[in-house]
Symmetry: D2
Subunit: 239 residues, 4 copies
Amino acid sequence: MIKITVWNEFIHEKKHQKCMELYPNGIHSAIADFLNCEDDFTVRTATLDDEECGLTEEVLADTDVLIWWGHAGHKLVPDEIAQRVVRHVHNGMGFIPLHSSHASKPFTMLMGTVGNLSWRESGDFERLWVISKAHPITKDLPDYIELPHEETYAEPFGIPTPDEILFIGWFSGGEVLRSGLTYKRNNGKIFYFQPGHETFPTYYNKDIQKVIINAVRWAAPEIRTEKIEFPRIPVTNQF
Amino acid sequence: MIKITVWNEFIHEKKHQKCMELYPNGIHSAIADFLNCEDDFTVRTATLDDEECGLTEEVLADTDVLIWWGHAGHKLVPDEIAQRVVRHVHNGMGFIPLHSSHASKPFTMLMGTVGNLSWRESGDFERLWVISKAHPITKDLPDYIELPHEETYAEPFGIPTPDEILFIGWFSGGEVLRSGLTYKRNNGKIFYFQPGHETFPTYYNKDIQKVIINAVRWAAPEIRTEKIEFPRIPVTNQF
Amino acid sequence: MIKITVWNEFIHEKKHQKCMELYPNGIHSAIADFLNCEDDFTVRTATLDDEECGLTEEVLADTDVLIWWGHAGHKLVPDEIAQRVVRHVHNGMGFIPLHSSHASKPFTMLMGTVGNLSWRESGDFERLWVISKAHPITKDLPDYIELPHEETYAEPFGIPTPDEILFIGWFSGGEVLRSGLTYKRNNGKIFYFQPGHETFPTYYNKDIQKVIINAVRWAAPEIRTEKIEFPRIPVTNQF
Amino acid sequence: MIKITVWNEFIHEKKHQKCMELYPNGIHSAIADFLNCEDDFTVRTATLDDEECGLTEEVLADTDVLIWWGHAGHKLVPDEIAQRVVRHVHNGMGFIPLHSSHASKPFTMLMGTVGNLSWRESGDFERLWVISKAHPITKDLPDYIELPHEETYAEPFGIPTPDEILFIGWFSGGEVLRSGLTYKRNNGKIFYFQPGHETFPTYYNKDIQKVIINAVRWAAPEIRTEKIEFPRIPVTNQF
């Protein structure tokens, strides 16, 4: 079983009429719903409203893959909690930041960059191209995924060179974005995925769901340590 | 002219007899000395003893490339100063962390990893292999550089996938390290270079000096911004 | 001085009315013209019509950077000539394949892939986004270059993972392409650049010219060898 | 079931006394033996002695992962057979070249480089360091694998920038090599692995076997096509 925690700040869905209608129980619940259909997944959710953001040492130690959705509340996540997430990623926990989580505390701490990009909320059409077909995360996908409306995210995107670029987004207003990216940080695997604005039904799209499901299986730890050490090693030269 | 600031914590050279003898004016002075022989370089130094570590906004804004040597004093660098360095790297300032600066605040903040490695102070012989000859940083170097004694640094090295690996170190005790690495973070170029333990005369080696001189020219900004922005962009589709 | 050879198959410009009007002396001449305005460049041209395609051992040995434009005549380049080009790239000659040269013999031999992509000659508008601003090849460019009409080239693009992605093209019909790519092969630097269909005035665009000029300076050899060797090395262990 | 073909030139083991003793039925048989212990593997072997090198269209089309061992007989593999292997890799077949296969026809065709390195047959001790622990190929391995004797392979190694470096070899005579490398070429995954000289019992080492077993599972196709196409695509802009 792969143990997943879906974290969502859960702010827009309590305030804006359109988000409420689209995601009445929050984006985290919509994501948990489709993940729960997979036999090898066990899913919990957590939000800003929970004590310690729902991300205690116990919860993170019991999480194989953490999915993150944040936007308006990036600053409301205490530094200590963000650093705890980062530490668990270093130890091997998979991490999947979605959409505006490019500017979240844990993702920017893990990247060492600002995560800047240009943006526009005009409901552009997005065509999300699969750049690499021979990858577990893009398995069984068509050549591209079409999203009738998405927030426009545009290059230049202030990120380190990705280990792999799996998707590039085309926006009808004339922009592009490296939209699906993998990284490793110590033992942890990271997959950033751009789609999922709170005012559009992106997480109900079957292919978007397939990407996230594939990414969970890919990001599950190969190895999980208690702590990253800086060991002093003995002299062993006896060759 | 390329404006260089050589920063050194300047701790060991005031305490340990051997370091005092090797680097009587500090490692920063030894590095500044050979940099000053280049016609297109202008060099200043700064240490932990200076106010604000000698790294005020004014100094960093006037620095094209910052060279960093830290070890015992990583924690003595205030977070605010480290974040200021990181911000200037994002804006385009070149950054060259040396030796034990793999665990310094600015480098680990820029990497998003712990920078862990195994180590041993047994004065191993190191042979530093040039992995990529067709690079400005390795220009005019022999196949390898031999250092009679260095601190052993060993894999696994907890760093993100480098953009380029230019050197791999071979240690007589049986260890290897990816020893010369390039990264980009937003507009800033970074070159990590492993040699330079405080008890060995590494920075007097002519080829080590050549690497650092080459690296300064490579790391000088292609572009320097005041600030990284997240611009809201207008609808422009008129194609 | 950087010695440049601009190679062009020179077929379309002798057959199609529109190409004749746009490039009366061939695409190679148009490219040579703007390169010749640079003080540190010396430029020669060569085409399929020349003996040995104009790419004798002498010419290649005297070339720092080879620019290549091919399309209809890929198969007319003898294997032996293509292999000669590949060998000189291995030895350190820079190589800049343009537009449909993604499927040329030397480029696919150097990549080890097919170079496949989807395409459409409908004169789409292209907006060419600069992905990495801190690179010698993108120096002094705006955020993007707009080309009123280009041939559409679309992902998936069958190429190895690039060392660097500098441009991504956005096409008005809904496609994207990784459009400016760097690679190294032994001592040689390679820059693939997508724009430049024979029926459009792309090579008269000042920013496109700037990219090619920058790329020539970047691709000039750091080192040039006579031959790549597989040396048997002696036992040297005396540490 | 993952269908594996183990290809070996099968020359040394029929000529040299020491190889005969170590691998009486050939290196291919020794490799097939430990692969056959895995429940999800089905294994066939092929050699230079077989018609069409045992690598007919039918065999390759029925192969998920091809393991390759070649050295003295690189030139005896017909270009047509090597190109056939390359084509099947493009279509998705996994490819695992071992040891001196760095200079084999299919590997150098897939890389676009010469695959040069320095070498010495002095039976150096090799310590093979695991550089990345969070990878399916290094799963369940110790920090390093020790081989009492191996042929020395040394940098500079004339290969394209690897997608991933999983192992670095340390040789007792003072050399290092990037020893375990992944690449993608179109739909095919490639893992080059350095150990395995014909005069040493490397393929009986349990950890070396584990690497090869892990690599087979990693290299099995995510997708397999009949042919790589260059499709002309229609105008679809209706956004």
